[in-house]
């Protein structure tokens, strides 16, 4: 639909309504604050629209869009470093910085979980969020991130251990 001029806008709107929510949440968990996620998601879909002709159909359209989203989020985090949350080792300090976002409000174990996730290295954060929240199979995560399943499992294992340790510390 997008490739035909007559149905381009309708086709793109259909694509947006099918994927924008999942892309938003994937990006939001990566970059944490809403305004950054909003910027990144808009950039993602502009890229999708402009490069849809290059989609080679080697993977599903969703996988292709998630790959663009993760690359965009990654490059945003690397270039802007607006919230260097992973560089802050202190849990409470990180929590304070995260609460500066007016659209973030967490407490208890869930707050600990989100704070611990933001302290993970970017790659581990990507893998953990896709597996834990979106319950994506490893094969699809491997396609999105262009990594081997073995290294994904290792990243997920390390991320889980770190988060578990943070949760245990907060309980005791």
């Amino acid at each position: 639909m997008i490739q035909r001029p007559a149905t381009r806008e309708a086709g793109f709107r259909a694509l947006l309504s099918a994927h924008q929510e999942q892309v938003y949440w994937q990006v939001r968990r990566m970059v944490h604050d809403h305004s950054t996620a909003d910027d990144v998601v808009q950039e993602v879909f502009i890229k999708v629209y402009r490069h849809i002709g290059k989609f080679a159909k080697k993977s599903s359209l969703a996988t292709w869009i998630y790959r663009i989203a993760h690359n965009e989020a990654l490059s945003y985090l690397r270039t802007h470093k607006r919230h260097p949350l992973e560089d802050i080792s202190d849990h409470h300090e990180r929590m304070e910085l995260m609460c500066e976002d007016p659209y973030f409000d967490a407490d208890g174990a869930l707050a600990t979980l989100h704070v611990a996730i933001q302290g993970l290295p970017v790659r581990q954060k990507q893998v953990f969020c896709m597996r834990y929240f979106d319950e994506m199979p490893y094969a699809q995560i491997a396609e999105v991130l262009e990594l081997s399943v073995g290294s994904l499992k290792a990243s997920y294992h390390h991320a889980s251990k770190k988060i578990e340790s943070s949760l245990r510390e907060s309980i005791t």
């Binding site: 174990a109 989100h114 929240f133 578990e164």
Partner: protein
């Protein structure tokens, strides 16, 4: 390489109703129109087929050939310009030699007329130098 530990597994069940991350009202509805507005929908998406890569080796070969011709021409010009003065100097040397040794050159060889019709050179009151002047 285990999947979630029990504590994470329990938390995942609680995450189903997680409202830690929130959105502005009607954000998802507005997001669609924001993105569409940002795009010039009349723009044609990139659908151009990929241009085949140009065979750059052809350009390299052409450049190499052109340079070879240039170098060959320059070399040819250099060798011809060095040969010409050599030829000139050889002629000069030969001429000097003939002048220096003209006294023993048998000038009769130079005549093509019958011997009887020749003037007797000894009768002529002419020096060798004058004779050479006449010849050259």
């Amino acid at each position: 390489m285990t999947d979630p530990t029990p504590i994470l597994d329990q938390l995942r069940q609680a995450s189903a109703d997680d409202t830690s991350y929130q959105l502005p009202p009607d954000y998802m509805v507005n997001l669609t129109s924001d993105i569409v507005d940002r795009l010039e929908v009349t723009d044609t998406p990139s659908q151009k087929p990929r241009q085949p890569k140009r065979p750059y080796w052809i350009y390299i070969c052409l450049l190499g050939g052109f340079l070879s011709v240039m170098i060959y021409q320059q070399w040819k010009q250099d060798t011809s310009s060095t040969k010409a003065p050599m030829a000139d100097s050889t002629d000069e040397i030969m001429e000097d030699y003939l002048v220096d040794h003209s006294d023993w050159i048998d000038l009769s060889d130079l005549y093509t007329v019958p011997e009887d019709d020749l003037y007797n050179l000894e009768d002529l009151d002419i020096s060798t130098d004058d004779l050479l002047d006449i010849i050259y």
